[in-house]
């Protein structure tokens, strides 16, 4: 069944709907990874997004319910070039399409995803409606403005025997995020503590006034922000922040440690960054576009990462911040 992807600027692309649900509205966002589709669609940070995979074949390895980043599909919808009608992998339990369908999500293939990618490259990421009906740009914008996207927090184990206490403010953290926190010997608590960690944030969350107010409360604490929660930090503490035109969404994004000059290939999923400014020192930059990938404040109280750092990197940063 034909399905239309109507963008907020009036541009329309055509594809083929594969699941029952016939309409979805969200922020159109791409991902250049050629695998890890299960992880991407279940990542709470992708709440409210229509995900477009640039790799043309989706679903080859199926869904295994092990690699997921939360127990639900966070993305509003998925579009791709070609859905695989069977799956083949020893861990797989069901097909990608079946998984999308049974979770009442819109999934469509047959899109010329490269053409869409080139369009986004010119015009930037924007809201879109995926539907059996075509919509004007204005209608898309209106629809999007009226949407509410509430991410669902993932359940995570709390190992209180870990070394470092932290209060975690969850704006869309994934399983991997919580596992990583655990690996770094940090445990989450609601008790009074010195360290505040902001998980990666969905676009809905980083736009919420409440969240800004919440963060303002922790002025005297040490704060580490992941992904787009840096927007909340910036808003709370009046840092300058900037938007990338396309965002970094993929698993092959190169960053450089400015001090050691060491490069890392990282997985990322963010749209904003905080440029070098008074009181902000860039510690990692993107190798392609030179934008900030990690920073620390001059007083060492606030830091942010736009990628998943290595355990060592995070611990070093915590040390620098005086968190032991």
């Amino acid at each position: 069944m034909e399905v239309y992807l109507s963008l907020a600027d009036g541009k329309v692309f055509v594809g083929n709907r594969l699941t029952q649900k016939d309409e979805a509205c969200g922020m159109l966002s791409f991902n250049t990874s050629a695998f890890g589709f299960e992880e991407i669609i279940t990542n709470p940070a992708n709440t409210g997004k229509i995900i477009m995979f640039t790799f043309p074949l989706v679903g080859v390895a199926g869904i295994n319910y092990i690699d997921n980043q939360s127990n639900i599909i966070s993305a509003e919808a998925v579009i791709c070039k070609e859905n695989s009608n069977i799956y083949s992998n020893f861990r797989a339990k069901t097909s990608f399409a079946e998984y999308m369908g049974s979770n009442n999500k819109l999934y469509a293939d047959g899109f010329d995803t490269r053409a869409i990618m080139l369009y986004l490259r010119e015009h930037g990421e924007m809201p879109a409606v995926l539907s059996d009906k075509k919509y004007s740009g204005e209608e898309v914008s209106d629809k999007f403005a009226n949407q509410n996207y509430n991410f669902k927090q993932v359940n995570y184990p709390i190992n209180s025997n870990k070394k470092i206490k932290a209060k975690i403010l969850d704006f869309g953290g994934s399983k991997t995020f919580y596992n990583f926190i655990d690996e770094c010997s940090i445990y989450s608590t609601d008790e009074e503590c010195d360290l505040i960690i902001l998980s990666n944030a969905t676009f809905e969350e980083y736009n919420k006034e409440d969240n800004i107010e919440l963060i303002k409360k922790y002025k005297d604490k040490k704060i580490i922000a992941f992904g787009d929660s840096s927007v909340l930090l910036a808003k709370a503490y009046n840092y300058i922040y900037q938007s990338l035109s396309l965002g970094h969404h993929g698993v092959n994004i190169p960053v450089k440690n400015i001090k050691t000059e060491k490069d890392h290939i990282t997985g990322q999923n963010h749209l904003y960054y905080i440029p070098e400014q008074e009181n902000i020192k860039v510690i990692y930059k993107n190798i392609h576009d030179n934008t900030t990938e990690a920073f620390i404040s001059a007083d060492n109280n606030i830091a942010g990462f736009n990628f998943k750092p290595s355990k060592e990197t995070l611990i070093n940063t915590l040390n620098q911040m005086g968190v032991k």
Partner: protein
Amino acid sequence: MPRRDDIKKILIIGSGPIVIGQACEFDYSGSQACKALREEGYEVVLVNSNPATIMTDPQMADATYIEPLTIESLEKIIAKERPDALLPTLGGQVGLNLGTFLEREGILKKYNVEMLGCKAESIAKAEDRKLFKETMESIGVRTPKSGIAETMDEGMSIIKEIGFPVILRPAFTMGGAGGGTAYNMEEYEKMLQKALETSPVHQTLIEESVIGWKEVEFEVMRDSADNVIIITSMENIDPMGVHTGDSIVVAPALTLTNDELVKLADIAKKIIRAINVTGGGTNVQLGVNPINGDVVIIEINPRVSRSSALASKATGFPIARVAAKLAVGYRFDEIKNDITGKTMSNFEPAIDYVVMKVCRFAFEKFAGADPTLTTQMKAVGESMAIGRNFKESIQKGIRSLEIGRYGLGSDGKDYCPKTGADIDLIKAKISQPNALRLFYIKHGLENGLTIDKINDICKIDKWFLNEIKQLVDFEKSIEKDNIDTISKENLKKAKEWGYSDIQLAYLLKSDEMSIRAKREELGIISTYYEVDTCAGEIEAQKPYYYSTYETFDQCNATDNKKKVIILGGGPNRIGQGIEFDYCCVHASYALKEAGYEAIIINCNPETVSTDFDTSDKLYFEPLTREDVLNIIEKEKPYGVIVQLGGQTPLNLSAHLKAEGVNILGTSPESIDLAEDRKLFSKMLDKLGLRQTLNETATNVEEALDAAHRIGYPLLVRPSYVLGGRAMEIVYDDTTLITYMKTAVIASPERPVLVDKFLDDAIEVDVDAISDGETTLVCGVMEHIEYAGVHSGDSACSLPTWSLKRNIVDEIKRQTYLLAKELNVRGLMNIQFAVKDDIVYIIEVNPRASRTVPFVSKATGKPWAKIATRIMLGISLKEQGITSEVTPTHVCVKEAVFPFVKFPGIDCMLGPEMKSTGEVMGIDNNFGIAYLKAQIAAGNKIPQGGNCFLSLADKDQIHTLDIAKKLVKLGFKIYATHGTREAIIDEISDVVLVNKIEMGRPDPIDYIKNGDFDMIINTPSGRRPKEHEVQMRATAIARNVPIITTLAAAYATIIGLEAQKNNRFGCKSLQEYTN
């Protein structure tokens, strides 16, 4: 670390001749490295014995040595050039081994040469079986479990450790003889016994079988600051058990999850760190158990490789170029990504298409060769295809191969009907890996085999099988349709799934051009997307293109009036390889220099022509009429060059001309005239030139009539082929009838050529160039072997070595006449035979020949470039090329054969070409040049020792002469009774050897015992005798040099005589030609 300033001069070792397993990918990587290092201001010294390469062009390096790739010649070059460093990682296994030997022998230390890219310890960790295992264990990666047994008892205790199934590999046997896979104890006991018996040292390796596991490869790179990146993953469609060079490979890996791929990539990263590659790339091959994800490491190559060439072309990441820069100290972030032009090289490419590599084989060339695909590579070439889905990619890949198939079946040439086929035959063809397995899988699916069943018998992943099933189902759904009834949607879908117009013509009961017209009418036309390293995320400055059927086209044709398309040669095969790619690359350079936009179409990932910066624009596409016309219609070029890429583009020229395409240079009519027997004979008569008696035949009766008029022996062959495909010498009616019935499909359009064969004639190859006004002979090459051996398999000398002056002049005179008559604009090649001082014309080809690069190297003139300028209308005079060059030094070309890869086959030379590559020997003395060529070709001619002499009856008059000369050179003669009798009066010390079947020990025993250092054996009859074949095959397997023609025997003797009096010198090409 930035560029190293402490080194100034770098030695690069090439990979030598094209052989199976080591093809022109190393010309591509070596050329990239030379360019990369010279643009950094380093002085580059290059050594390679292969004259057909771009890398040995004099302008690619500061000093270029076309010398044998041996320790001896390398030491001479090092002593002379005194390089600061050696880069051994770009010349394949040959280069890497030489680097190791130079280190081990202390030569590098002696001359203070540093090894770059990969230290000797690193190479040892990758190559030494034990060290490799230890290194892998130290990072927690498992190698397949194995043990070595010398007795039954040892074997029985090893099996307890490993478990079934298990592979037995007896030591020192060829091609896995005496080995196999055992699945149970009963089988194992029998096989173990056999394995121990077969092995000459009574030793066998017993190895855990990972047959049927997934084979996954990674290309990983590391810089001096320990940054590591993965270029791409690749998955073999053929599971473990088939050499990766013979497997169909898809990139990226498709059937693994992120979690699994990350684990495998981590292993690859650990490996490159553990073996400590300090600036370069490594290829990592892993086996993955599809049942539970268990991983074993199969092999690593700490150098650029065939796979890295593929990964490079598949992603746009120029691995060799970057590897060269890393080797001299640069970090990834200091090396620009030339495809995007904006970003640096420290990233991992993202791709948004599916890449397929498919292989080309040459089993038809080697009677008796086993076509089963095993762990030993047998493919002679490969093509790469890019599509937006798997189906498109595989169908494009297959039609790129030029094996007469236009996609995965349904092109009118299928091996089985779609219903009622012999299921047992199909199953057999699926279970045994072979070149046609995918076709049989499709036949199986058509005939009711299920995906599960097929997976069960071949272990190919179900996902791949399902993709083929989709094609089967689609074809079924349109089975009742014809060209008029097919829906637009289905036609579009067919094109999206890679169906060629020829397949659609078959499925829709129509013809190719009608399908094309219908498509165009419906607006279903090909669009082009970029290979840009970044999945479209960043605008690329120097991308290349692939076709697909999408809604958008990223490739804008310029309205440049000065635009020329060069059609490449497609996958390598015997008869058409790197030599033609060399010509195409030169054409591109010439076009660019002349201010033209140069566009290349080719699909061979190993080549320099498909490098991103060789042309102004590259289309990575199959070279079929449909694919080429699509591009021509889009680009609207001023003209198309077809005469440089070998037979592939020539076969298209008439079609293209019919579509109104401007074919540059010699007209297709002239090309046809030279191929058309009757017209050609008429032309020769008119010019007063002589040809051997010849006729054509379209059936058995005509052939017999012709034979009786001309008289035996005859040379018979099909028209329009390269490489002497199906060319034979026949001596009687019986063999002629067999030939006509089995070897060729003759038709009125494609008749069989029947020529008188001249026994013992000297063959001469001439390359010439003409602009219509002036014709110049580029080179006259005198063959070493007599006429009857294919010119591609024969050694030859430039200048001529025995021909009289007046004969050479006569040959040149005839060349000028022919060029004028055929109105040649560009290159031409003529083969002459000289017998009793009479010159006969064997064949004329008004196009670039296989010898163009050799002649260019020998004469120091870039003939392919000059020819390209002629095609643009720039005369020889205007180019300042007015005189012929006869070098004062001697260049000898020798062919290199793949016999050792096909155990048991005969190594006799004949009219059908069998060589895969060539080398060149260069010296001021013919004998030395010939010997250098022999050494370079791997024929280890001894300077003395035992020589077994066994000549055919017709050659017996030469026996005494040869024997005397050999004795004088210090050889001891071994001979069978007849030969011994003929010489015993003059040479007293001749050891008598039994003829085979006349009692043991026979010559085969002597060979096996290592008693013969050299064999001279000319075939005794018109048909090879079984035991002679057996003897020659044994000699090949044991690496005993074997000379099979009288002429080669004499040339070898001249060489050995010259060697007694002279030392081998080494001079660079630049020194020879300046």
